[in-house]
Subunit: 303 residues, 4 copies
């Protein structure tokens, strides 16, 4: 009976994840994401967070409220208590962006040991994108298919040519580590990628964003919508509410709204204002989340 | 003439920092923060960010605008390009929180090699704080001095007693690593602490927050207001605007404001609305920051 | 049939670990280590390492040989593919050392939210250690029990006194975050601790070492001998052979051995030399490990 | 007079580094390494290490001995107290390996914002390497120039072709982020790279190793021999002795040497044995390093 403070903790199993273990989610033309393993779930986040409350307070908040509280206040360490491992197949160009997420464990297919994967990501005629004029790093609308067809034909040629050169080198006995040097960035690679949930959400936040490049975004959306949403549904909902769909108002912006008196005539104490909004519980009082919202509005009101 | 793309980069020297090198800023009763060294400054953040723009775009944005843009969009890597080193003296109890910031380099005074520092943090009679009733992890108002005096007298005794026991053990030849085991958490320790600016701002954001414990907050405020503000004034201003003084509105909150029609009657296209707000430049048009704000308001308006 | 290169990968289950899930291993007088969950095992290390070999080479090495090869050549990333989570109870003084291992996920019991755990680590009369004269940071032999008894009595007093002061403060309504400041370092804390195998072995290597402090070493030995050894038996054997029981000979030392001619008269090509040593396989030829050893000896021989 | 324990610490300036600030060291055919800035040096490593010794022990070891001791016993944190920043130009294929070193700060030239650098790494006719038969991931001897000439001609063609396709796409208004997808891995990129000395030595150890690919090894050797050696000469010497030129003998190997009696007839106590070896100081007694060596030999002797 030593551990009276934190209580017995059990391994967390998520049935919805057991069902998609080893399942392959296709991405782009020849890529995929496969779920290899996971550790923990919403329940282990709650478990870890409650370490901070001690024995007497186990039932103070229900799980959803606690997870939303953690997300809202950027208490990030409990989200590190869940871990996930993928096997992915991805073009090297996309991998170049992916690998910038440093807090993860990686084992990539080695083209020093083995012959490079004989797949390159091919863009079909209706997928070629124009340079965005407003966003220096982005894309805008698609090229008309006629022009797209030309790009695709040309791409097929350059990819075939580069592969032929590669294979000639290999056939001549060239070291694989050198032979690969002129392969196109569109060449596919594979890797194991293992990461904790906090860092995975950071990845999702950046790579599902509208500024992210479409290719990596495709992967991020599959990971988010098909896998994380099943793995940790409460965390995923909170993440969408507080990160993806949230807006930050800066100090100067808040000053502006306050000075322009935009909120002046709202009676923030009148609970009728909040009816039907999700900020009031079944007893008709503001939830913890509701009170924090009220505080933000008061601040804008200058009270 | 090889490096035509990124241009020649120079070491950045910040005169205001040269003046406070080795300066000791006192903290709590016997602690301090001393600036040992630094690398980079606002200019090296800009330098790093411009890598992404290439040669032709060097003057597109002036430095302040660029730094604010980076901060607003959480482009964090350029802030990692500046580094700083402190020598600090801090109670072990505060150090327990400090050390949780993992992305930093640390060398702490060893009480295995050397006799423990003969200083404990003493709380004066008017500094004892009551448990907050609203915030489980916080403090509220101060105890009346009369009661505070008793606490202080008692603390002096318990600290003296624990030190006496420690010194007896040392005098008897006990291993220092074991002798220290009953020293109070209020005992001071010293350390070198080296960290990059991105992670330091994360520290500032958490530890200058109103929910942080007063003791570590005292240190964080000195580091922020006395050192970072001098080191990288543009970054510090952006940090205050977009982190410390910003408010995040969640998805549900934005939906609420939109549905309640609070912004309905604002004509957001009327530039007069923004006059005198800092969101309009000298030519009377919205700045990039202003446009992004307008977008947020439109979103609330449902347009 | 997309993933022809890396092959289908399955979740790894280790029966010996399933048996000790949630088991509590006692440590020190009132501490413990409990296994909460794990991901992967020897098989997933092999799986990750084979990514580098591609499809044709799956059977080139058997698992044990491959794991030993990885360990010998410090190919560390495959060991990051296994993850483990513990719940521990440990004195704060020991935790101060533990937490210095930065690449881990941690949730510690909060003494801001909750009353401090009412347990302090007590040293019994025959466990008090003298300062080592040869090793500035170490301990030597034990104090005689008579003297030890006095230390223990005194410790009990100082711990009781400090706790009484703490409880008076709490009873008076003092903020928990401040009340705790004079608790002794011997006070127990609890935490979840999650880490990958590579970093856990690093922890084991440092904390099972003879220079580590006895208290943390007690924990490290339980983790190593009772848990890691069951989890990844092949990796653990390799770790003992190549880290714990290995000796490094520096450049100058190798030069010395070579110049002094100590190995001169050995005929390193004579396979009889290696019989019965484990460096020769059943066919009587040197294993890969054996050849690498022969190379080191040749180097010493100056050939 | 607060900081009596750790003493006043001064910023460390290394004259040999001031001389090469902003200097460009060429690498491969069109790449380079340029030193942008640095913080600390041998002196700050010593400073950080001495934190552990306290005030009375400042002169116990001279700097060289202390640094060698730290390196020998893998006390790595003091080496984290020195930091360095480079601007590099490197082929993307080499960068793919480089970026795997995660504990570093990086800002890479963006080919989403800007047109890709118009340089590809070209291999000259006498630099094409054959696949090693003994080492699956390595190279062996060079191809004869006649064959090499063909490879070079073909490479020039494939690079030119891929560049032409890229420029056509750009001219047609294709988004840069998509246009780049078929550029060869040999295309150059540029980046700022900032890292602490401990992690930089880890990079050096792996990338200067004979198993590293020649291209990244070329960079690592320049960084090591031309820059680190000037920056921290004592650390660099210790690194060469204890890492690059050291040999590790595993548990089974030590057992073998011991059982085969190879060291039996050495009288390890006879100091004459060590004369002229650097393990004896001017007074004729073994240094700390010498004693540790003697211990290793005793271990082999079975005494």
């Amino acid at each position: 009976m030593l551990n009276k403070f934190m209580g017995k903790t059990k391994r967390v199993v998520v049935p919805a994840m057991e069902e998609i273990l080893e399942k392959e989610f296709p991405a782009l033309d020849k890529g995929f994401i496969r779920l290899v393993d996971y550790m923990g779930g919403d329940a282990s986040i709650v478990q870890a967070a409650r370490v901070s409350y001690g024995v007497g307070t186990k039932k103070v908040s229900e799980d959803r409220g606690l997870i939303r509280y953690l997300m809202r206040h950027r208490h990030t360490t409990p989200f590190e208590m869940a871990e996930i491992k993928f096997h992915i197949k991805v073009p090297m160009d996309t991998w170049r962006q992916w690998i910038r997420h440093r807090t993860a464990n990686v084992n990539e297919y080695s083209t020093r040991y083995s012959v490079a994967i004989d797949d390159a990501q091919q863009t079909s005629e209706n997928e070629w994108r124009m340079q965005s004029s407003s966003n220096k790093q982005g894309s805008e609308e698609f090229f008309p298919p006629k022009l797209g067809r030309e790009f695709t034909i040309q791409e097929t040629e350059v990819q075939k040519y580069a592969r032929k050169v590669y294979e000639k080198r290999i056939a001549a006995g060239m070291a694989r580590e050198q032979a690969r040097k002129d392969l196109p960035l569109s060449t596919y690679t594979e890797a194991y990628w293992k990461i904790d949930l906090h860092n995975l959400l950071h990845f999702s936040g950046l790579r599902m964003d509208s500024h992210a490049q479409k290719e990596i975004s495709d992967y991020a959306k599959i990971i988010g919508n098909e896998i994380i949403a099943k793995w940790v549904p409460l965390t995923w909902e909170a993440f969408l509410d507080y990160r993806m769909n949230a807006k930050i108002f800066s100090g100067p912006e808040i000053k502006f709204l306050k000075e322009r008196g935009i909120f002046t005539n709202l009676n923030l104490e009148d609970l009728d204002l909040y009816q039907g909004s999700g900020f009031v519980n079944e007893k008709g009082v503001l939830t913890r989340e509701g009170k924090e919202f009220q505080e933000k509005l008061k601040l804008l009101q200058g009270s």
